[in-house]
Amino acid sequence: MGNRITIDPITRIEGHLKIEVEVENGKVKDAWCSGQMFRGIEIMLKGRDPRDAHHFVQRSCGVCTYVHALSSVRAVEDACKITIPDNARLVRNLIHGAQFQHDHIVHFYHLHALDWVDIVSALSADPKKAEALSANTSGRPQKSDYFKSVQDKLKAFVGSGQLGPFNNGYWGHSAYKLPPEANLMATSHYLEALQLQAKAAKMHAIFGGKNPHPQFLVVGGVTSVGDLTVERIKEFEDIWKETKDFVDNVYLPDLLAVASFYKDWGAIGGNNSSFLCYGDFANDSAEKNKLMPSGFIRNKMPVEEMTTDKVTEDVTKGWYEKGDAKHPFQGETKPIQGEVTYNTDKQYTWLKAPRYDGLAAEVGPLARVLVAYGKNAPGVQALVDSTLKKLGVGVEALFSTLGRTAARGLETKIIGDSMGGWLESLKANIAKGDKKTYQSWTMPKTGKGFGLNDVPRGALGHWIEIADGKIKNYQYVVPSTWNFGPADAKGNKGPVEKALIGTPIADASKPLEVLRTIHSYDPCIACAVHVIDPHTNETYKVSVI
């Protein structure tokens, strides 16, 4: 047996993730993902008023507050057969789009970039060479004085000893491939992105009333009536334009510049062949036509239409009472009683194993871009093809850690560009006197429904059953469960478990390469790495950003 590297949980927010990999001959031989916290919120929701569900579910994740509220509200709307007004659809699209712009920029620069960018190396960069690099790659070239000032700031920060986010990085690791100037350019944009994301977050507050926990969603529409004014829309539009400019001229050029040094990662971290999207961003009130279409890719075959009837959850490897794989409407949350034991041969996680037609499916940016590409969604093929061409890699490179990270950047642009059209539609509606944002409705005695949503991390679904006007059953299947879920009854592993197999590891005490793939899925957690070497009995503990 090789070394086992464990990535331990240290957060109480949803996710609470532990990942263990077995390393043999410098490569990952096997991998297990374990959700370390039981999420019993479904039990808590039973017997409550369906209109209140979204207030609870938006607290179940530390990062994705709005998207859970949106799925919940949609599930109740489906159960109660409510069609929301056009303005409500547009406002929801705009807020959801703003969430993608914010989250993906933060992910690339603040949660993922330091897996590829060596901050310490940036200290030794030549600012003049950085200027030349910037002139060649950036849509917004910057001068050597600017790079010098960033370098000085960074030196002062490192010198203060308060490293914060840069603490415990694997600086100097042999897997870092960028020249010092590229590291300096990326680090400069890390700082710019901090400023930008603080602004981008304000888009939520304009129609959302309140950030970070928006209060504008109600079953039947939105309550942002007071914000449907020319001035408020202009405020939103100004931040959107600034964000779009950053995506076009900084984020995407940086993505290409960094990726060009890591083309080998176009063949690592991509063992998955099935992908699922629920789709999102409806272009019409009937929600038939979506900017990011729904679909299922089975073993890299052409895209099939997706139906939620084929979604099941398997509990074979979870700490749950034994039972058959069940559709969420029949879903149960019955934890085994007493202490649980982590055993990768038996049960090892609180996550259930979601399956589509019996198959493990990756969800998230890569799934969405592949499905949109396969369904020939407007503009997607041209953008993907030109990106692959610029990098000089083939289409197979999409199925990888690099492809996943690139897909996230590309969809940021696809969604961001579309926000302009929704703003124009909203303005046109208001100009003609249509300010309706809410459809009144009455609670039925009984009802069943589901709310689908494709959120920054992937396909999210909430299922609700109403009896006597109260919640009888509530289940949700979240993106991290799809991606980080365990093996099923047939022994088929979850997407991240599979993706990690084969990853080269230069140094088991610094498993930077494993983190690259884990972070490419954007888990909403911070991790500590805990490495156990059974041969030397040495234990390494390293905090990870």
Binding site: R12, G40, F56, G62, V63, L191, L194, A198, A201, A526
Partner: protein, 181 residues
Amino acid sequence: MLTPLYKLRATIDGCPYCFTGDKMAEKIMVLGVGNILYSDDGFGIRVVEKLESEQIFPDNVTVVDGGVLGVNLLGVISGADRLIVVDTILNHGKPGDIHRLEGDAIPNRILGKNSMHQVDLLEALSLCRLMGSVPQTVIIGVEPQDIETLNPELTPAIARQVDIVAKMVIQELDKLALKTL
């Protein structure tokens, strides 16, 4: 009911305590953090909910329900000059004990705490430093009894401290108001 002082400040024109409309006034943020689904972990949120429902604050004071957003709170806090955080704090005390941390005490005392959103908050503060604008921070917190059970209610002993800590927040604001005059 808490003191209605802030209502007066926000509404009376020419009041010497009133800093509405003063664009130069320091931006003060009251930030509650925690998870309302886990009993006493929701303490910080319950305090800011109480403050929001009973007080009207002047324009330069923002009250924020930060939930468990951690580092994503950066966008919210980076604009503040002063930050008053309300949270649960594990500090080897009895449930219900109230702690007030300020300045150098913050990193050392909090690092030992078994709470991720707290560490994330510190990380957010350190990123603020990198952006060149760190708010001066005070953390007021209660020692919790139960942060494990999935229950949207505080335990009775901790629920009793909500009023007291809400008053402490008002006192902090009073101190800051005097400083700015």
